[in-house]
């Protein structure tokens, strides 16, 4: 088998990955896209495993890998596929953000390991370009790894979602990057062992950087962070491609890297903030004091399940706005049933999804899909925002900042200018909430105090279940 075969297969795999992502951009072609990705991956792995036998180097070197290596690598692939498949089949849809975060961290670790291995193998023969590639790959990989781990812990709730704002945190970040740079320079030309230790040092500093970067970001910005880490994992893979002179890794890494970057940009646009503001801003802690001074006038009107059921029964148009609260309470299934009951009665029930609702881009869509709600009923911000004025009842379930009218009319508000779902234009708004706490942005929501708003306090799932019971009577 001439070595060009592997190159051609890699090229095909690269194309398949591009088509795969392309397919994923529309509902109709999404499943096909996933399959194209799988085929590409199988091809690429198969030809690489074949490479282990040394086929591509011609007969003279056909000795190939020893059976030991083959057994270890084969076992690693099999075990990994088994674990991955098992976890993916069992994971709860509400735990998707955590899963995505932890998978990102694996790519990060793998990039670090590949970097360490490459340096170890090359020893003193390494040229400068290659050396720089290794350092970069390890840096990005380590940041991805620890950043993802912290993101995972935040999403899990293991550590609080409040941003950790150390004094002089920008200086600290710069110092860490500078430290990596210094170690890399020291390691250049040093004996292989020393050089390797310096690379380990870079790994350590970059790991600290990853922890610190993500810890400083508030819970409400998690969708951006997760997609940003997605992007990093792509760049890490691309860096590995440079190290190993492998075009498939470079192509795939660049694809993933830029797609993650775009997703982050889309999320940021949905919050009317710049990416720098999200990554370095430590948003979510400072605005609290600004809002404390201006508690909205008016009083909160509370309602009960029976009244809400009556309201829904007599409505013609209903829009449901889900937020993170719905995910936490796992309320999507009873909501599906409520939707079915109401639609059977001829009520036009639809869902309005804000781009940054939840903790993962597209989180709400996945949960509603899981509950079996047709995606035709699920509308995006731009599609539905003009319809609120013709709507009889809006039900807000566990969402806060994304329906905050301050974003439109209060210049002083920290979220001013952010596109929001204009729920207040509906005749009636019912807000399901656990308590009167402010949202992740720490901003009071004047919507709670509007005259057409009533509050329904309690756990979202239990409330929706009793609502269902009341509707079925």
């Amino acid at each position: 088998m001439p070595p060009t075969v592997a190159t051609v297969v890699y090229l095909v795999a690269g194309l398949l990955f591009i088509l795969s992502l392309r397919g994923l951009s529309e509902q109709a072609s999404a499943q096909k896209g996933n399959w194209l990705g799988i085929i590409g991956m199988v091809l690429a792995v198969a030809v690489s495993v074949a490479g282990l036998f040394g086929f591509e180097r011609g007969e003279a070197e056909a000795a190939g890998a020893t059976t030991n290596v083959l057994a270890v690598y084969g076992g690693a692939i099999a075990l990994g596929a088994l674990i991955g498949g098992f976890v993916a089949a069992r994971v709860q849809m509400t735990a998707m953000p955590e899963l995505v975060a932890v998978l990102h961290s694996f790519v990060g670790v793998a990039a670090v390991l590949v970097g360490l291995g490459t340096l170890q193998e090359a020893g003193a023969h390494i040229d400068l370009a290659h050396y720089v590639e290794v350092q970069l790959g390890v840096l990005v990989g380590a940041v991805t790894f620890t950043g993802s781990v912290v993101a995972f812990a935040k999403l899990r709730g293991t550590i609080g979602s409040r941003p950790l704002l150390l004094p002089g945190r920008h200086v600290l970040n710069l110092a860490l990057v500078g430290g990596c740079l210094a170690l890399a320079i020291l390691g250049w030309g040093a004996p292989p062992d020393r050089s390797f230790s310096y690379l380990l040092g870079v790994t350590g500093l970059a790991s600290l950087l990853g922890v610190h970067l993500v810890w400083a970001i508030g819970g409400g910005d998690m969708p951006v962070v997760v997609s940003l880490l997605n992007s990093y994992s792509g760049w890490a893979a691309a860096a590995a491609g440079f190290m190993l002179s492998n075009d498939l890794l470079i192509i795939t890494g660049a694809l993933v890297g830029s797609s993650g970057a775009i997703l982050s940009a889309i999320m940021c646009r949905a919050m009317n903030r710049s990416i720098w503001n999200v990554v370095f801003g430590g948003f979510g802690a400072e605005p609290a004091k600004a809002s404390a001074t201006q508690a909205p006038a008016g009083k909160v009107r509370e309602t009960n399940v029976a009244e809400t059921a009556e309201l829904l029964r007599t409505a013609r148009n209903v829009i449901i706005i889900p937020g993170y609260g719905m995910a936490v309470a796992q309320a999507q299934h009873p909501i599906r049933e409520v939707t079915d009951v109401l639609r059977k009665k001829g009520v036009n029930v639809r869902f309005a999804i804000h781009p940054v609702a939840g903790r993962l881009p597209g989180h709400m869509n996945v949960l509603l899909a899981e509950a079996g709600i047709s995606y035709d009923l699920v509308k995006e911000l731009d599609e539905i925002n003009d319809d609120f004025s013709d709507t009889d009842v809006v039900v807000v379930i566990g969402a806060n900042d994304i329906v905050n009218p301050s974003a439109v009319d209060d210049r002083a508000s920290p979220i001013y200018g952010m596109p929001v779902l204009e729920a207040w234009k509906a005749a009636r708004v019912v807000m399901l909430k656990r308590s009167m706490a402010a949202g992740y942005a720490g901003v009071e929501n004047p919507l709670c105090y509007r005259e057409n708003t009533v509050m329904l306090f309690g756990d979202a799932k239990k409330t929706v279940q009793s609502l269902l019971a009341a509707l079925q009577v």
Binding site: S25, N68, Y73, Q120, S245, L255, G372, V408, G417
Partner: protein, 521 residues
């Protein structure tokens, strides 16, 4: 020394024949007084609008016996109609020197009036000159008046029409609904559509501005599409503009063909500053069924119908043509309340510390200002005015324009500044293979960028998990480390990388497949 005397705001009785409105109600008079001024009113000023002197007195407003006494005392005069010649001389001549006047002024049609006001060294704020911008909606007296006029036009039409508006099935046979054609869908036109629909009529509406189509349709009327070459009738500030003669002719023909089938025509077509366009020719009137009614809301500006006689109701060729110019005045109590409310809003803007102070930088005040201390300041300098939708009754909503943060050019510039030297270094010292990889890398970035942009937001999570699986391609990196070697530190590092990456690949694809299966119609 005494404190300087407080500014006196005076409300005279309207002198225009048949005018029943008044520029302040007892409620708004009290609100004006709160601005730190004294309010006086001519005895009987509000009587025709059902506001009696007693009510004003109760609200704390001083009553003065006649117009002479009022004009002698008032520093600021509030009126509805523009000042006119009366038996006691021109109203402007009765103003105190240097006084302020707030009323409808119609400066474009009343050049001579402006000169008189100038001679009096007056300051004049025209309620009709308040710019039509979102912030000034609460002081938009024209819209408030037009709204009532549109409603009243339908009521007058119904009173003069020999049939009901709504359809009915009776024992004696079926009553067909009246067919109403509204020409001009401004505030008055839209109010007329709503009122005619409420009475049960079948309504169609015509306007040269294509942008009002949605508003017409939202009120349940049919929009009559008129297209002629590339001209549209959309002018500055959401008003209609003057059209060419050929256009007008085409328009007349178009309207004539619909006039034939209509029982009622209500015309509201006005272009600011010029006589109303004659849209309904006498030929079109002849073609209408006997007993039909035309209400010409543009009568005061000459009328949209060629046969309109401003101020009166006439019957021509069996068609009743109502050219009333006092429709708002026919609902004087309500019209006064609305007008008075807009006046208060404007006063709240210009009365500071009990004095009239005009802020030239405020486009609302600058727009309304017609004469300032004897200098004619009309027309105001041109401003870019947003073509705002006219407010439709109380449900009219407005969108706050979102401020776009200007994109700083610096990140781009810094990026270019960093990238350029890097490329130069690569070109000078880089190895050919590195450059090849760089090419592949940059092209792949561009491809990724373009492939992803149009993803539907609903698929963000599946997209993310599939890219996650795909980035497990780093598995190959691990495999490459193990190529052709025995177990060493390197190959073991590679094996761990392979293990982790395979978890990623399998998990990513599997969970994506699971999610995608859930999405369904």
């Amino acid at each position: 020394m005494d404190a300087p005397p407080r500014l006196k705001v005076g409300i005279p009785k309207e002198t225009f024949p048949g005018e029943r409105r008044v520029a302040a109600t007892p409620t708004t008079a009290a609100r004006i007084a709160k601005l730190g001024v004294d309010v006086i009113i001519e005895s009987g000023a509000g009587e025709a609008a059902s506001f009696l002197d007693g009510a004003y007195a109760e609200a704390g407003t001083a009553i003065v016996a006649d117009a002479a006494a009022l004009y002698a005392a008032a520093d600021l005069v509030l009126k509805v109609r523009a000042p006119i010649e009366t038996d006691h001389g021109h109203e402007v001549d009765r103003l105190k020197e240097g006084a302020t006047l707030v009323s409808f002024v119609w400066p474009a049609q009343n050049r001579e009036l402006l000169e008189r006001l100038q001679a009096k060294k007056a300051t004049v704020l025209g309620m009709d000159a308040v710019p039509r911008i979102t912030r000034a909606q609460r002081m938009d007296a024209l819209s408030a008046t037009a709204n009532l006029a549109g409603y009243r036009a339908v009521i007058e039409a119904a009173a003069h029409f020999g049939r009901p508006f709504g359809a009915q099935t009776t024992a004696a046979g079926r009553i067909k609904p009246a067919r109403v054609l509204i020409i001009g869908a401004g505030v008055a036109g839209l109010a007329a559509i709503a009122a005619a629909r409420a009475l049960g009529a079948v309504v169609s509406a015509f306007d040269t501005r294509p942008t009002v189509r949605e508003q017409i349709q939202s009120l349940g009327a049919t929009f009559l599409q008129f297209e002629w070459k590339n001209e549209t009738g959309e002018g500055e500030g959401g008003y209609a503009r003057q059209m060419s003669d050929a256009y007008l002719e085409a328009e007349q023909t178009f309207i004539a063909q619909y006039a034939k089938q209509s029982d009622i025509i209500i015309t509201t077509a006005l272009v600011p500053g010029i006589p109303a366009p004659k849209l309904i020719t006498s030929g079109a009137v002849v073609s209408m069924a006997r007993g039909s009614v035309i209400v010409d809301l543009a009568a005061e500006q000459g009328g949209n119908c060629a046969l309109t006689e401003p101020g009166s109701a006439v019957e021509k060729f069996g068609v009743k043509i109502l050219g009333f110019t006092d429709l708002p005045s026919r609902m004087a109590p309500q019209a006064s309340e609305l007008y008075a409310a807009t006046v208060v809003q404007l006063l709240e803007l210009v009365l500071k510390d009990g004095k009239v102070t005009i802020d030239y930088d405020d486009e609302v005040q600058r727009g309304a200002l017609i004469v300032h201390e004897g200098k004619i300041t009309w027309p105001p300098p041109k401003l870019a005015i947003r073509a705002g939708a006219p407010a439709v009754g109380p449900t009219g909503t407005h969108k706050t324009a979102k401020e776009e943060k200007p994109v700083s050019p610096w990140p781009m510039r810094i990026g270019v500044a960093l990238a350029l030297p890097l490329l130069v270094i690569l070109g000078l010292f880089g190895s050919p293979s590195l450059l090849e990889h760089m090419t592949v890398f940059l092209l792949a970035c561009v491809v990724g960028w373009h492939v992803i942009w149009n993803v539907t937001p609903a698929l963000h999570t599946p997209l993310m998990s599939v890219t996650n699986a795909v980035s497990g391609i780093i598995l190959i990196g691990g495999l490459l480390l193990g190529r052709g070697r025995d177990l060493t530190v390197t190959t073991i590092l590679g094996a761990v990388a392979v293990l982790l990456a395979s978890i990623n690949v399998a998990g990513g694809f599997r969970v994506t497949a699971r999610m995608l299966k859930m999405f369904r119609h």
